[in-house]
């Protein structure tokens, strides 16, 4: 691939604004391999899942946001990070509301006295209403914050790397799943457009109904629109040859399907084991690795017969290694602190105290932030030259007097 630099090859690779001499001396702008960004983001998410320490979580959020702001491109999917932050905030609020409504309340400092509904003995752990304590409430906030940080990490991966590029790696054996993924990833943002369009159109009919009844009136045209678009897209993919060389005999298909499914299940169990600090060690990393190996084998078997090439594949070079290492550093630090000093990773609630700031974990998270420096500047998707605008026709029209 690298040997194909034709006379056009290096044209238009630069950023649209003329780079300064200093910039030119540094790396050329290019998109980082999406796998590297996902690895980095998932590492951070794993690290976040190990702690409820609000200081560490806040640093993590800050680091994630910093990297996103520094390294996202101007493509449509890069604009979505804010949505994930909003979603995180909503989750924190929901978690607190749930705690107040049905959560088990504990602590010494009374915050709010609410009437309590008595429940039978078997419903231990659920408490409808009841006195709200500062400790319990803070615990809920921190748990919500952890989930919000996880979501922000996934959002960062989505903003930094185009999820569709990851799908290129999908083996042909998973053809139908690939179609479904691409269709949903493409149609989902269009859904937002059509909701907007339909809501605007409803006003044209003077229809100002709100609430549940409005949902039906908006959903009907929007869903029909989404269905139409999905079918059109699937037809377009088919007529452009997607999955054309998938002609594996049934036995190969079944083998690869079974391998991939088992592998994915093991991966799920492994991820769960890794995220849940209380579960047995064997459920953690070993299960995850086994799962990944099985899935890879399945994809390998299924993908043998697929002939497909990749246009300008994303290279995996030093910046990719560096970025992935940055993320892994955060996980390693967090795991190490969890092993040596587990209490530092939880917020002290009983008794209430200022949470500790474990040095190693902080350093690890900050190391993840280095991704903003070690990764290259993304390529701008904007036009390299302004769009040519032809002169308005009427100008010429006015020059020529009418007979």
């Amino acid at each position: 691939m690298t040997s194909t630099t034709t006379s056009w090859g290096s044209r238009r690779q630069g950023s649209p604004t003329r780079p300064s001499v200093r910039q030119r001396a540094r790396r050329l702008p290019r998109g980082l391999h999406p796998g590297a960004w996902w690895l980095w983001a998932i590492s951070l998410a794993v690290a976040a899942s190990r702690t409820t320490n609000p200081l560490l979580l806040a640093i993590m959020l800050a680091v994630t946001s910093l990297v996103v702001v520094a390294r996202r491109g101007d493509a449509p999917w890069a604009r979505a990070y804010r949505l994930y932050l909003v979603l995180g905030a909503v989750i924190i609020v929901l978690r607190v509301l749930l705690h107040v409504a049905v959560g088990f309340k504990y602590g010494d400092h009374v915050l709010l006295r609410l009437p309590e509904v008595p429940l039978p003995g078997w419903a231990a752990g659920i408490q409808v209403g009841g006195t709200v304590y500062v400790e319990g409430l803070l615990g809920a906030v921190f748990q919500g914050l952890r989930l919000a940080t996880l979501i922000a990490c996934i959002g960062a991966a989505n903003a930094l790397a185009n999820p569709k590029r990851l799908l290129r790696a999908l083996p042909g054996a998973l053809h139908e799943i690939g179609v479904a993924f691409v269709v949903s990833l493409t149609v989902a943002p269009q859904l937002a457009d059509s909701v907007h369009r339909v809501r605007r159109a409803r006003r044209l009919r003077g229809d100002t109904v709100r609430g549940i009844r409005a949902v039906g009136r908006i959903a009907m045209p929007v869903l029909q629109d989404a269905l139409d678009r999905s079918i059109l897209l699937a037809a377009a993919m088919d007529s452009r040859g997607y999955g054309r060389s998938v002609q594996a005999p049934p036995r190969t298909r079944h083998t690869s399907g079974a391998l991939v499914l088992t592998g994915l299940m093991a991966t799920c169990i492994g991820t769960f084991g890794l995220l849940d600090a209380q579960s047995a060690t064997v459920l953690g990393l070993p299960a995850l690795l086994t799962g990944l190996v099985l899935a890879a084998a399945g994809m390998g078997v299924g993908g043998q017969r697929v002939r497909r090439s990749t246009y300008r594949p994303d290279p995996w070079r030093a910046p990719e290694w560096a970025t992935a290492t940055c993320g892994l550093a955060a996980v390693a630090a967090m795991l190490w602190v969890g092993y040596t000093d587990p209490s530092a990773l939880t917020a002290p609630l009983q008794p209430l105290a200022v949470p500790a700031l474990p040095l190693v974990a902080t350093a690890g998270i900050l190391a993840a932030g280095l991704a903003a420096i070690v990764s290259p500047v993304p390529l701008s998707t904007a036009s390299t030259t302004p769009i040519p605008v032809s002169p308005p026709v009427t100008e010429r029209a006015q020059e020529r007097p009418r007979p």
């Binding site: 034709t6 059509s194 377009a236 088919d238 452009r240 054309r244 090439s309 998707t381 390299t384």
Partner: protein
């Protein structure tokens, strides 16, 4: 030359359809030909095109009898994906068919599926970028491109696999005249230089006819005739103005391009030199022709982009105004801002007249007027944006670009009843309007099963049930055949004759020439021309209709005008018996001036 596409006794029936979409079609397209498929809306053009690469019936369902062979490969044995290396298909809406996110990736997608070597892909992408003039857009996100650019990317994305057959479904329907020429120039270049076989369907035949080597005419019963365009055009149910002028003047063979016609137009021009075009419609009188809507300093901006830049516009009662301009010049934004439902960052709109002057000749004859009485409202405050939506639509009605967005019930009659409720109009008024505009729609039909023209008619009826003083139409002619456009013209004229102001945005110059009294041209969010239709469009190279180009320097716009001038003087202009409008103008009630 060997045949590229062969249809043998092909009949296609969709499930639950009462009759087949195509009936016993025999068709042979030789390699390197440009084959134009024409027919009225719903005559099966898209089905015919879909059958070429097997999307019909592999993807759509239905049964196919007979056989379709593409360079020797039968679609019964080959799925669409197995034909991807020899045929490229571009659908009606290019954006709906994009699989990736940027121009360059989209161009490469098909080649990746065919497993071409990386260096070949790299070279072909660059060649295609140059061939279609897309080099500057290579890293742009597909969704941010203009309509013409998207269409060119869609064509480019199937070209990179070097198909020998190209199938295009209405490639220029959403484009402004200039962008359409760009796309057509690219297509003809492929046919001439690369020998690609092209099969394309198009409603605006005037744009394509001159390039076609072969024409397929589909009649409403699903039968097809194929032959040289000049022969088929003699009897075709759809014909562009140049052909209609040729039929009128009795030229044989029929001219297919403006250039052909101009070479023969001498005698006709001679006959016409003694008469001037008659006034097109009744000129405003008694209370008609006064300002109906006054807009001052309208600004619409989206972030950094100023879509509408400080526009002043006055619409008058009884006047049909056309809003033209290239894709993205701010037409839709202006319409939505005027209606008040869309974004308006600055400026005032006042609906100052229109309802009171026409109460006696109400379109909804015999129906009680709606509850909003302009007499009780201060004219200065009649801004639809400040009223609640139900009242705003009684001042200004808007039919949006996607009329289907307004419909959400599952029967036509349900939509009509809902519209009556929303407009607080008497029961049955919407159904009555619909019957006037598009007779013969079954009330129990699902709105999505209607043809484009019928759906548009339903939405117009829904909006007219509120009896607005001003009606705005956003791209109403998209997907309409010539007959449907003539009916739309008559509806619009009738509204104007009853004192309403109509503003419609469109790219269709022939429709504008036939319909509008006044043309406003937008560019970059500003008004660059505003005047009577003839003054604005006759001398414009991009906007001039075919008849004007043929008869230039004489200022004729439409075949109807020419026919009216040639007909005996006793004929009335409104009830002209043009071949183009015999069926359509019978409802017109315009008196001679």
């Amino acid at each position: 030359m060997s045949p590229a596409i062969v249809f043998e006794r092909v009949s296609i029936t969709y499930p639950d359809a009462p009759h087949p979409a195509l009936t016993a079609v025999d068709l042979t397209v030789e390699e390197g030909e440009l084959c134009l498929v024409v027919g009225r809306t719903g005559s099966g053009k898209s089905t015919l095109l879909g059958a070429v690469n097997g999307l019909v019936p592999h993807f759509t369902g239905g049964t196919l009898q007979g056989s379709v062979r593409l360079l020797g490969r039968d679609t019964r044995e080959h799925r669409p994906r197995d034909l991807a290396d020899i045929v490229g298909v571009v659908g009606q809406n290019p954006l709906a068919g994009f699989v990736t996110d940027t121009v360059e990736e989209e161009l490469a997608y098909g080649m990746e599926q065919l497993a071409l070597a990386p260096d070949v892909m790299r070279k072909r992408v660059e060649e295609t970028l140059d061939l279609l003039g897309l080099a500057d857009l290579r890293h742009r996100a597909l969704r941010d491109l203009s309509g013409g650019q998207q269409q060119r990317v869609a064509i480019g994305s199937v070209l990179t696999t070097h198909p020998r057959v190209l199938v295009l479904d209405e490639p220029t329907s959403a484009l402004d005249p200039t962008a359409a020429e760009e796309v057509l120039a690219a297509i003809t270049r492929l046919v001439h230089d690369l020998g690609v076989t092209v099969m394309l369907a198009e409603h605006r035949i005037e744009r394509v006819l001159q390039y076609a080597d072969r024409m397929v005419h589909l009649s409403s019963d699903g039968r097809a005739e194929s032959g040289p365009p000049a022969e088929l055009m003699v009897t075709s149910s759809v014909a562009p103005p140049v052909v209609e002028l040729g039929r009128l003047a009795g030229w044989t063979p029929l001219p297919l391009s403006v250039r052909d016609a101009r070479r023969r137009v001498g005698p006709l021009r001679e006959r016409l030199s003694h008469c001037a075009p008659q006034p097109r419609r009744r000129r405003p009188s008694d209370g008609i022709g006064v300002p109906a809507l006054r807009a001052r300093g309208i600004v619409v901006r989206y972030g950094e982009v100023v879509a509408v830049n400080d526009i002043d516009l006055t619409l008058r009662t009884g006047e049909v105004t056309a809003l033209m301009g290239r894709n993205g010049s701010g037409k839709s934004s202006l319409l939505w801002a005027l209606q008040g439902s869309g974004r308006r960052d600055r400026g005032r709109v006042a609906v100052v007249a229109g309802r009171e002057v026409v109460s006696d000749v109400d379109l909804r004859a015999g129906i009680a007027p709606a509850t909003l009485n302009p007499a009780t409202l201060d004219p200065a405050t009649l801004d639809p944006a400040t009223l609640d939506p139900a009242q705003g639509r009684q001042l200004v009605g808007l039919v949006p670009h996607e009329p289907g967005d307004l419909l959400y019930l599952d029967t036509v009659v349900g939509e009509c009843e809902r519209a009556d409720n929303e407009s607080r109009a008497n029961a049955g008024s919407c159904a009555y309007l619909l019957e006037r505009i598009a007779p013969g729609i079954a009330p129990s039909q699902h709105p999505r099963d209607l043809s484009e023209g019928q759906r548009l008619a339903l939405v117009i009826a829904v909006q007219l049930s509120a009896d607005p003083a001003v009606l705005l139409l956003d791209e109403p002619t998209r997907g309409l055949d010539y007959g449907a456009k003539r009916r739309l013209r008559d509806v619009v004229h009738e509204l104007a004759d009853r004192g309403r102001a109509v503003l419609l945005s469109t790219h269709d110059v022939e429709f504008v020439a036939d319909t509008a009294d006044r043309v406003v041209v937008l560019a970059d969010g500003e008004v660059v021309a505003d005047g009577p239709t003839a003054d604005v469009i006759v001398s414009s190279p991009a906007f001039a209709p075919q008849v004007a180009k043929i008869l230039s320097p004489q200022p004729w716009l439409t075949v109807r005008d020419v026919q009216a001038a040639l007909a005996p003087r006793t004929a009335t202009s409104g009830a002209s018996t043009s071949a183009s409008s015999t069926s359509a103008s019978s409802t017109s009630t315009v008196a001679p001036s």
